[in-house]
Amino acid sequence: MFIQTKKFILSIGLLTVALLIAGLIVGFYSLRYMKEIVSEQFNQQQLELATHAGRQLENQFLNMIQDVTILNQSPSVQYLEKVSWANRIKITLSTLQETGVLEIGRVDGSGKKCFAVTSKEEVRIVPGPYASQEPFLWSKKPEHKNRISLVPANLKNGTTGRPIMKIIIPTYLESVDDAHPVALHRYAGYIYLLLDTRYFVAEMLKEIRSGKTGYAWAIDNDGNFIYHPVPEFIGKNAFEVRGQREAKISFDQINRIQKEKMLRGVQGTSSYVSGWHRGMRGNINKLIAYAPVRLRGTSPSITWAVAVVAPATEVDEVIHAAYLWQFIMQGFIIFAIILGSLSIIGYEWQYAKTLKSEVERKTKDLQRSEEQYKKLVEGAQDIIFSADRQGRFLSLNRYGANFLRGELFDPETQESLKTRHYVDHTGKFIGKELAEFFPPNGFFHPQLIEEIWRTGRPKTIEHTFKIRANDYWLSTQLIAIKDDQGLVQEVLGISRDITEKKKIEKQMINTEKLASLGLLAAGVAHEINNPLGVILGYCDYMLDKIPPEDKVHKVLEKIERQGNHCKKVVENLLSFSRYTEHSDTISDINLNLGNVFSVVENNLMIKKIQLKKNLEANLPRVKADPVQLQQVFLNLITNAVAAMPKGGTLTVITRWNIYADKVEVVITDTGTGIRKEHREKIYDPFFTTKKVGEGTGLGLTVTYGIIDHYQGLIQLETKTEEEDPVNHGTSFTVILPVYHSKREAEKKGA
């Protein structure tokens, strides 16, 4: 259990770590991916900037060209009117100055003179052989009409390193004015602009910011820098100048971009390694977006390129910051999850532990209660069993098994064993039918189980039960055990041995019977006594009067004999009924027995009966009338003698049962014993086994009445010759409470 928990926790820990690592890897990839996406987006933004800048430059160039074209249409310029050409040029120049135009001039059709106005409003007419020069030759070609040419130029006055462009537009005489009413449509030289390209471009590009530190630069169609934040680059070849500045770094990438993309007028995005960025040095990854600047109308057409660059770290920083936060957040979340999981696991573990201990406790409790129940069931001195619908044993306690097997009956002592240790015989019963052990003649029939199954109501029956030679009374309670749905599952039976109870009940019934009989007998005796007294009185009188040899005297004798028998019966009846009357006498049992022995000893000798006396000395006295006690002992001894017609042994034992505080007198014979069918009737009045006229059937009735009157008990144990050929005979035990004087009782109380 504990090892499993340990394993479980370990695996959870490992899983957590694995998840964290996986999260990290996924995070890393996602960072990369994010970087790519953001870089892409960033570059797209840069591209926007670049294309926009390119577009602006194109428009500016177009505007400039339009202005120059308009100027070129001006008659004063076409015809080089002395009065107005310079002013006209000045007008245009004033607008174009802002874009970096340094000079606007006009070379005449002969190529001999150049009429120029500078941005400083200098008007110059410069003579020169222009006709042989490239611009003139280019402009002269008719196919270049309405075309523009750009050629690099140099200014004479100290603008070294500044790329200057000469923009050339051929001039044809197509306008009319007062002096020239008809357009000649003739070639008349060209107009040129000197453009400070750096200025032209810088005005647009220097304001561009990409990210925090990103900037724009531009190259012309020859790969020279038109503009760069690093001023010394301007005018230099972009393919060379970087390597000169940072030799260690390979600029292949940017060179390739410049060559293959930018110079070919393609727009796009990419990245390259640079050696610096503003103040920083070293290997710096840069993101680049580039766009062409198509100078429309140029022939051959000229395309510049604008690039917007920013270090990748810009993106990285943004993303890294976000990702750092995200990662911290992730960490927090994972930490929270782990913490939560741990606490849940801990709680679960704790809970499981508690549950386990609870379960253990409950199991223990259950075991204990089960043991307790088992103890109860096994320790019960009842037959406890359960049965199925077919009336077969499902279970049975040990006591029951021993009882049903007759193991609890000791054939030696003829008694039920009072043992607490039972051999387990239950296995011999399980699955067998109840009817096999509970014979149906004891009113316990198999249909009972079926009935309980059907009705679900408990039932209690009292039935007899025979084990070996002994008859028992059992009180069996049958209870339907139901499940939660109220369906009967089994029938529980509890059988209690109520043999003793039955005996006592019978005694009670007997006692009551005898009490009422006593009253009746007393009444009857009195009623008979009077007439009997009269009869016997007269008979007595007559016997005196009539001589003995007379026949009548014989008759009177018969009357007197029968009357005397009557008198004996009545006397017995009266003495039996006398227990309703009080007598507070105290008796010494041994002394009374002695009196009785002296009376019967002679008779015993004649009947060949040996008397064995075992009288305990110093026996406490009992509260009973000695005359009546003697009557009791005499009755019992007379019966014992009658039971031994062939002689035998009469044993009389007295003893003091200290624990019960009773005196016991046991009178035992070795006679014929009392037959089973007679045993219950022996105390009934007028029940006798003697011949008519020999016994009144009141001896034991009177005995019982007397003993009962003094709160005593009389017990019988008997075995007939059929039941036990060796140890047959009858034993009566008279038990009387010990008498305590008031003083003794007080002492006891104190």
Binding site: V534, Y538, D540, Y541, G563, V570, R578
Partner: protein, 144 residues
């Protein structure tokens, strides 16, 4: 002058039997009544030397009868006839001053013996009383 015996019993046959035995075997005069309530009247009319009474009678109990008799004549001895079963009552009667008791059914010797005993005592009692009276006379005479 023969001594007189008064016998009280609700049973007529018993009365007659007792009368028969006593008159047959002794010289005493016998007066019988089966109604105990007549006894006080009889006692007032006549003087008796012995009263024999049954203990159990209707109308009036033997014990009550004794109480009644004692108020009229506290010197008269009496014998109680009782059944064996009411021995306790007989004992009580003895305490009340009965001279003796006889249990039913009795043999005539028993009753005759008992009567004789009582009569002896009765004579002694009478003699005693007479002597006492004589003594008183002498005392008075000596004074007078």
């Amino acid at each position: 002058m023969a001594e007189k015996i008064l016998i009280v019993d609700d049973e007529m046959d018993m009365l007659e039997l007792l009368e028969l035995i006593i008159t047959d075997r002794t010289d005493y005069q016998v007066v019988t009544t089966n109604s105990p309530l007549e006894v006080p009247e009889l006692l007032k009319k006549d003087t008796f030397d012995l009263l024999i009474t049954d203990l159990r009678m209707p109308d009036i109990d033997g014990i009550e009868l004794i109480e009644m008799v004692k108020q009229i004549d506290d010197q008269i001895p009496f014998i109680i006839i009782t059944a064996y079963g009411t021995i306790e009552s007989a004992v009580e009667a003895m305490r009340k001053g009965a001279f003796d008791y006889i249990t039913k059914p009795f043999r005539q010797e028993q009753i005759l013996l008992t009567i004789e005993k009582v009569m002896k005592w009765r004579r002694l009692q009478k003699e005693n009383m007479a002597l006492k009276a004589e003594l008183e006379k002498i005392k008075k005479g000596s004074h007078g």
